[in-house]
Structures are given as structure tokens and as C-alpha cells.
């Protein structure tokens, strides 16, 4: 399943260095431009890799967190835990 507007946000950010810079300075004004569902926006705001990973292409997920400036080791740790966390979340309904 792909979330179109989340994917569009990630796509636009990795396509434009200027937009990426603006996003790193302050996310709110840019997030306001995309009709994200409330739970999706919340996941973006708290860098919830597990939630986001289930809704976008994995390459876009990676590019997004590069744009955000998340250190590589932190992203690797989060994305590698995503499989186990995702399974745990679904088992809890």
C-alpha cells in the first residue's frame, strides 16, 4: 500500500535541495502544504520509521531520512528494527 501524499512529500523533498533545506529549518510550513492524514502527519513529526516504512517506497524512505539529516547509523538501526516492530504492532491489533 502506498500513501500518495506522503510519497509525494518525500519525492518533492529529495528532488529539491532548496526545499530540503527549508524542511530542515522548519517542517510545519511544508507539511501544511500536503493533505496528510492526521496519523500520517503525526508519524512524520515523530520520525516513526516503522509506520512510514509501510506506506512509501523503501528508496523514498531512505532518501527522505538522508534529506532530514538523520545519521546513517540511526537510520540503519531504525529500519532494521522495522520488521520486528511492525510484526509486534500488528500482533497487538
Amino acid at each position: 500500500m502506498r500513501d500518495y501524499w506522503l510519497s509525494k512529500l518525500f519525492f518533492d523533498l529529495q528532488s529539491s535541495p532548496a526545499l530540503g533545506e527549508e524542511y530542515r529549518t522548519g517542517r510545519k510550513s511544508i507539511l501544511d502544504r500536503y493533505p496528510l492524514k492526521p496519523e500520517v502527519r503525526k508519524a512524520v513529526e515523530r520520525d516513526d520509521v516503522v509506520f512510514l516504512a509501510s506506506r512509501v517506497n523503501p528508496y523514498l524512505l531512505r532518501f527522505y531520512f538522508v534529506v532530514c539529516g538523520m545519521p546513517e547509523a540511526e537510520f540503519l538501526k531504525k529500519v532494521r528494527n522495522a520488521g520486528a516492530e511492525s510484526a509486534a504492532r500488528s500482533s497487538h491489533g
Binding site: 517506497n57 523503501p58 528508496y59 523514498l60 524512505l61 520488521g83
Partner: protein, 278 residues
């Protein structure tokens, strides 16, 4: 008539550029050796035009309009847009609209329906092997983008057929030019997934053995069974399959393989000996 003078394949891991200093000396030497050899073989083939098959890493296309296969028809293409590719010498890249047009016409005649673009940006997937292979200046390029990033993908069998059709398109092109094909991507790797960073060398070695053996059915069956079970980056092996089809499934020669965890990719480099055709 045009002549197919070389068929090649290469990995294109971004960290070969943006993480090079973190690559071990041994792996740097291995990758440099393979890329230099690859570039040398392409240059030795003296192509007047290079057909290049690579994925698009969310540069030209998005999920609102995502072709399975797109042929670049433009007189000129943009060089890579990634900020970390800023030192790449290819700012604009000459195309070959007449050959591209003939490829699309041949494809349609053979019941393929490719998308077309008259202005593409060629990202790192196109440019890293050429740059690091020392191809400067470049021959004109006809880029062909295969969707290897967002499922559902073109089938492995269809990619093999695409390669055979490309070979026919080259052979029937009326001008007396030399044409080579370079497919880029793979081998095993995983990007943005829980398995990110994992390289499956036994898979890569078996895949290489299937290319060497040249048995079409075994190669297709192997990839159909195994590609869904390993990292998403291995989907790009479809491009190698197209190259294999263009070479009439014969003459595969491994130039080099490097299990390179620093770049997250099982890196492979190959050429097909076209003299091995029966």
C-alpha cells in the same frame, strides 16, 4: 546496417561516490580494477552510440506516472541531479534520437509498448559506471529506463525478450554505426528495508553461474523464485537479463565481483563475448 559491438553490465552503488573514503583499501582496489576494465572494454568496442539500461531512482518519474519501460528519445539528456554527484563531468549528455526512434518503432512492431521521453535526467545509475570507468568524452547515449524500484516490476522473461528485441533493433538500424549496450544495477542489495545492508553472496554467485551457463529457462526460473526473497535492490538484475537477451544468452564473462558491505551492494561487472554466438 548498424552492428552490435559490445554488451556489458555493471553495478552502480551510490556509495562508490559518496562513501568512497569509507571503503576498505582492498575493496577500493577491487572496484577500481573492475570499473577500469569495464571502461576499457567499452572503449575498445569503439561504440558510436551506447544504449544504456538502468532504473530511475525517483528522478524522472513518480507514482502518479510510472512507466515500466521508457526509452529516452531526446537530442540531449541532463546529467545527474543528485547533489553528491556534483563532480561528475557529465552535465549534459548527447542522445541519439534516430536510433531511439528506431528502437521504439521496432518495439511496437514486436508488440512491446514502451513509454517515451524526449528529455530525461540520467541519475547515478546511468552515470557512475561510465564516470568511474573513465568514459570521457561519452558516446551519444540512448537511455532506457526499466522500473526496478516500485513493484510490480516487468517480468524477468519480458526483460529477456526486451533484450532480444533491442538486438534486432540494432541489427536493422539502417545507418552503418557501431552500437554497444550497458545494463546497470544489482547484484544483491537492500535499500530502505529491514534487511538494508545485507548482501547475499551465495545468491550473487549462483546468479552469475546461471548467466555463464546460458540456459534461459534455468536463469528465469532461478530469478523468479529468488528475487522476491532477497533485498529490493536485486530487482535491478532485470537489466542484466535484458543485456543477456541482447547478447543472445551466450558469452557471459564476469569481469569482477566484490561483496562490498561499505557500499551495501554485491557489486558485479560483466561483459558478453559476442563472438560466442552460435
Amino acid at each position: 546496417m548498424a552492428k552490435l559491438v559490445g554488451v556489458f553490465a555493471a553495478s552502480h552503488a551510490p556509495l562508490i561516490i559518496r562513501g568512497w573514503k569509507d571503503v576498505s583499501a582492498a575493496n577500493q582496489a577491487s572496484l577500481t580494477r573492475s570499473l577500469t576494465e569495464l571502461g576499457g572494454r567499452i572503449k575498445a568496442a569503439k561504440p558510436d552510440v551506447l544504449i544504456e539500461i538502468a532504473p530511475d531512482h525517483w528522478v524522472n518519474f513518480f507514482i502518479n506516472n510510472l512507466p515500466s519501460i521508457c526509452v529516452g528519445m531526446g537530442e540531449e539528456h541532463e546529467g545527474p541531479a543528485e547533489p553528491w554527484m556534483k563532480d561528475c563531468p557529465y552535465k549534459t549528455i548527447k542522445g541519439h534520437p534516430k536510433l531511439a526512434h528506431h528502437i521504439v518503432e521496432t518495439a511496437l512492431e514486436r508488440d512491446f509498448e514502451p513509454s517515451m521521453s524526449h528529455h530525461l535526467t540520467l541519475d547515478h545509475g546511468f552515470c557512475i559506471p561510465l564516470w568511474r570507468g573513465g568514459l570521457d568524452p561519452l558516446p551519444p547515449i540512448v537511455p532506457i529506463i526499466f522500473n526496478d524500484l516500485e513493484p510490480p516490476y516487468p517480468t524477468v522473461r519480458r526483460c529477456l525478450q526486451w533484450g532480444a528485441m533491442l538486438s534486432e533493433a540494432v541489427r536493422t538500424y539502417p545507418e552503418d554505426i557501431r552500437v554497444a549496450i550497458l545494463a546497470t544495477g544489482g547484484l544483491s542489495h537492500s535499500i530502505g528495508e529491514p534487511t538494508m545492508g545485507e548482501i547475499d553472496e551465495p545468491f550473487d554467485r549462483e546468479c552469475i553461474r546461471h548467466f555463464e551457463n546460458g540456459d534461459e529457462r534455468k536463469l528465469v526460473d532461478f530469478l523468479n523464485e529468488r528475487l522476491p526473497t532477497i533485498g529490493n535492490g536485486a530487482a535491478e538484475i532485470r537489466n542484466w537479463v535484458a543485456a543477456h537477451g541482447a547478447a543472445d544468452r551466450r558469452g557471459f564473462e564476469l569481469i569482477g565481483y566484490c561483496n562490498c558491505p561499505e557500499v551495501y551492494v554485491g557489486c558485479g561487472f560483466a561483459s558478453w563475448n559476442l563472438g560466442a554466438r552460435a
